[in-house]
Amino acid sequence: MEIKLPANPITRRWLGLSPALITIFIFMVLPIALLGVYSFKPADSYGGVEAGFSLDAWIQLFFDRDLDDTLIFDSIYLQIIWRSVMLAAIGTTLSFLVGFPVAWYIVQQPPERRDILLLLVTIPFWTNLLIRAYSWILILGKNGMIEQPLLAMGLIDDSLEMMYGNMAIGVGLVYSYIPLMILPIYASLEKIDFGLVEAAHDLYADRWAVIQRIVMPLCLPGIIAGCILVFVLSLGDFISPSILGGGKKMMLSNLIQFQFSSARNWPFGGALTMLLLMLVAFGSYFYIKASRKSAYLEK
């Protein structure tokens, strides 16, 4: 049987892309658009939405409604958002500080060892995220692997209280997402012509200067990709905050999860989701722009 392809090359290109486009539309664009629409609807009492248009969900982000229906500015949700963004930023920074040297080390190894090391980097991905989070409780928790020996040696008298706080969440975030920092950085480091490193070394640049002035600028695309991946996933992570943070500190992701489960306020959940999406999109956009600019200005 002969299949007739459309003559127009543009039509043909779109036809070729259509399976991917349809998949993306059904599984990504449509659900997000639906959430966007929901955020502008009044909530009903059973977790669904009623017909009509309402800005209640968006107002709720910034204001509390008093008994007499006057709006009072309320920063509680903004605080949660701010805390989540800060924690994600710190997690991203730590991931970069740890991940870059690891990637730089791996890329300098002979090819066979590189493959093994890269495999090791991805191993945590083979285990369930929940299990990995719980295993950190064994390490950081009261009488855990860190505290026990210290207590036994008499170096500390009391628990260090490492669990259930920002530090534990930070550790969880870095641990969970560091492969996503290492892999893109490694991929762009791998493409750097090592002759440039030698040339810089030859021209009186010491190790640090070589990394700062040659390696980092040249692998900037990898650094940007790694940072965005880790930041976005950290911001949306709800396992680390709820398990390692003990659920004491509400994060944006927990808040969203809460709206769709216990609170049954889908419009508010939708508004929060849209806000998170916008934060990530704008954040990434400006970060890329700023990095590009600084890469050219730095010279």
Binding site: D193, G195, L196, E198, A199, A200, H201, D202, L203, Y204, A205, D206, A209, R213, I214, P217, L218, A295, K299
Partner: protein, 361 residues
Amino acid sequence: MNKSIPAISVNSVVKHYASNPPIVALNNVTIEIQDNEFFTLLGPSGCGKTTLLRLIAGFEQPTEGAILLYGDHLEGLDPNDRPVNTVFQSYSLFPHMTIAENIGFGLKMKGQSSDQIALVVRDMLALVKMETFGNRMPNQLSGGQQQRIALVRALAPKPKVLLLDEPLSALDLKLRQAMRLELKRLQKETGITFVFVTHDQEEAMCMSDRVAVMSQGELQQLDSPQMIYERPRNRFVANFIGDVNLIDTKVSSENQNSYVCSHNNIEFSVNKTSQHQVGDQVTLAIRPEKFSLVSSAEGLLKGTVVDSTYMGTDTYLTVKIDDSTELEVRCQNIDLDQQLPTIGETVGLSVPNGAATLLED
């Protein structure tokens, strides 16, 4: 700098690579490179010339032996601590920096002020007549232009010795010829010692003050280009540089300064450039252009023309002097009326005194 101390002394340097099987890249090499010299390391790929250059630059450490720069040991110094710069084969210009920043990089790393750097960069661009290129990026330049920038980038920090690793091999022929002259000029103008690595004998011949011919990790001969060509020490050097006729002979007698070597009752008188006994089998090297055609009655050698190839400047003749020996003879084409022997003709060949060189092996 004391001019009498060699710019670089390579003392019994050995370099092994612990691969499987182990590679001996350099086997007991000793070379002294003089101050303000255009010195060339010449040899086929894998002869160890680039390894030697990398040892001098500090990218690798010798397994045994020492390298001295104007009398100072270089052992344990990183490349950034050696006052030596390299021009790389692939140029290795930093793609994210402008041309001016590339040239100024070494000075910046040495901690010079940006005013000083700007002055040097301007001078360097002027040196290669590329004054207007400072703000361009490397990928906006042609191969030859990139080559020039790589050169002045390495010259900008005023190194004591400039190392050049086959810098012309990526250029096309015309550009390569122009760059040879330019390199020679830059060496004269800057007064910096150049150590040039190449596998191209022509490059070595036309630029160098002295040439070290290397093969299989060993130094074969170290001499002026003229001596390398006229008095090759062994078969390798004779074959690697130019074309050569090798004639098997036997030492038949000797006097104070020369041997008489005979081949089928033809006697050659050669200078004693190496020690042999009467009766030893020795090889003589004679360059194809040394012969001159004479009538078959005259001449030291007599033979039959078996092949003739017109090459423009010369005609290459193959002359068979006996069953086992064919000689290549080059005759310059002076004018159209010149009568050259045809195939099958018997010709006589005369060989001027001193044209034949006695080889060590």
